[in-house]
């Protein structure tokens, strides 16, 4: 019991630290892509204290609640948004035996908890009593529910290949060959997983729900100070969580030569995060109908077909089909 509490405490703080610096990595990366330098002034070298300064600034800013807001819902929303983002790390194994709880149905737990995020998002959008925030929340419901299905289906392909929902067993099944390297199935599944990830994290080109040119900042437009910081933290934590999931499902988790396991794992998660960021700074936003059409007309049939093909292949390999 005590051991679990200590592990959870350490894990929480480590994640907050990593996620804080992910924002720095993203800003530097974006700056590189646009021939800028990025944050440079706070802390030498290369402005490495910038994330800390940002966090402190947000903490001491004034907290404003709109006069006509639905107060309990408005105030609870950032917390409801934040909790699932951290809870998903409960089942993530960083190395063999290094993790909070390696459940038998770890992947299912991850997917279930991660789908709760939308409740907090909607509470924020509705509680603000703001047209833009409400429109953003409505769009979010459409988009996230549409992409939940292909996201879950692509996540099931490694499950089929490994024959288990336990995340550590899925990684162990990749000891010979990472799932992303499986001919055809692996690459297709990985690309679809990335697409569904980008869409369910509402990142460009799927960011219609915060589209700054039409909706200002979407559901968080009325939030300020600490609450805004919590929402940002939750978004990046969720993004990092899904990157970790991608590393576990397709890139072989902690497996790799030379370096210790957790380092490999974090490097792979960072790689997926950078891929998503790369897409973010390369493409323009697409329309609502294109986003929903892509999910239901392309991604859903494609993932279903791929899942069936994988199932057939697994059955063939294990000799169940003559």
């Amino acid at each position: 019991m005590i051991r679990h509490v200590i592990t959870a405490f350490v894990l929480l703080n480590a994640i907050v630290l990593i996620v804080t610096y992910l924002t720095y990595v993203e800003r530097k990366f974006a700056a590189r892509m646009q021939s800028r330098i990025g944050p440079y002034r706070v802390g030498r070298p290369h402005g490495w204290l910038q994330p800390i300064a940002d966090a402190l600034k947000l903490l001491i800013k004034e907290d404003i609640v709109p006069a006509l807001a639905d107060r309990p819902v408005y105030n609870l929303a950032p917390i409801v948004f934040l909790i699932p983002s951290f809870l998903i790390f409960a089942t993530v194994p960083f190395a063999p035996g290094l993790g909070l709880a390696d459940l038998n149905i770890g992947l299912l737990f991850f997917l279930a908890v991660s789908s709760l995020e939308i409740v907090g998002l909607f509470m924020g959008g509705w509680g603000s009593n703001n047209k833009y925030a409400l429109l953003s929340a409505m769009r979010a419901v459409n988009q996230i529910i549409s992409y939940e299905v292909p996201f879950v289906l692509t996540a099931l392909i490694p499950v089929l290949l490994a024959g288990s929902l336990k995340l550590s067993l899925i990684v162990e099944a990749q000891r010979g060959l990472w799932f992303v390297a499986y001919p055809v199935i692996g690459q297709l599944a990985f690309v679809m997983f990335l697409l569904a990830t980008i869409a369910s994290e509402n990142r460009v080109p799927f960011d219609i729900l915060e589209a700054e040119s039409e909706l200002v900042a979407g559901f968080r437009v009325e939030y300020s100070g600490m609450k805004f910081a919590l929402i940002q933290l939750a978004e990046y934590t969720h993004m990092f969580g899904v990157s970790c999931l991608g590393a576990l499902l397709f890139l072989g988790g902690w497996l790799g030569p030379g370096l210790p396991g957790p380092v490999w794992f974090l490097l792979k998660a960072l790689f997926i995060f950078l891929l998503v960021t790369w897409v973010r700074w390369s493409f323009v936003r697409i329309r609502v109908d294109q986003i929903l059409g892509l999910s239901w007309k392309v991604l859903l049939p494609a993932t279903l077909a791929l899942l069936m093909a994988t199932g057939f292949w697994v059955a063939l390999r294990s000799g169940h089909v003559a």
């Binding site: 639905d70 819902v73 459940l103 038998n104 149905i105 299912l108 737990f109 997917l111 279930a112 908890v113 789908s115 709760l116 939308i118 409740v119 909607f122 509470m123 509705w126 009593n129 409400l134 409505m138 419901v141 459409n142 996230i144 529910i145 939940e148 879950v152 929902l165």
Partner: protein, 172 residues
């Protein structure tokens, strides 16, 4: 410890269910529904049915969000329901129907306690693995109850086609 968790979760579940019915603001009602369904998921967990608990969370998180959207589009958001109830007759029907349901649940519970009643726990097929775990659910769904499972999928398909037809006629 398990009893303590059960008591806390059960009290929260009942309280949120009451709040869901008594609140006049539809969005608050829907939020209390989230709390209630979450509590039921925890109860499943306490019974050792992890798969059922997580499936409940996955399905209802999405379903409730759709409910939210409908609440906003159909009702006037932020305003309490006012004026005379247009469905007064339904409200009168609710009491006897609710009592009937309660009686049914009581009968089932009583039957299962005295062993082998209608749909009681004793009549559930015994599988080698722990009931409620993902393996036993899979075995039951794709083995013993395969026919019912497939029929349900046809039912859902029919509902999907029905919705498409209705929606299409309106937009023309």
């Amino acid at each position: 410890m398990a009893l303590g968790v059960f008591l806390i979760v059960a009290i929260v579940a009942v309280a949120s269910a009451l709040a869901l019915v008594l609140r006049r603001n539809p969005i608050h009602g829907a939020l209390f529904l989230v709390v209630n369904l979450g509590c039921v998921a925890v109860l499943y967990l306490l019974l050792g049915a992890e798969f059922l608990a997580l499936a409940q969370v996955i399905i209802y998180a999405g379903a409730i969000m759709v409910l939210f959207v409908f609440a906003i589009m159909v009702l006037i958001p932020g305003k309490e329901e006012t004026g005379p109830d247009p469905l007064r007759s339904q409200r009168l029907m609710a009491v006897p129907l609710g009592l009937f349901l309660l009686l049914e649940i009581a009968l089932v519970l009583w039957g299962s306690r005295s062993g082998g009643g209608v749909g009681g726990a004793a009549s559930l097929p015994q599988v080698g693995v722990r009931a409620g775990g993902i393996e036993s659910v899979g075995r039951l769904l794709l083995g013993d109850y395969l026919f019912a499972f497939e029929v349900t999928s046809i039912l859902l398909l029919a509902a999907l086609v029905g919705v498409l037809t209705l929606a299409k006629r309106k937009s023309e």
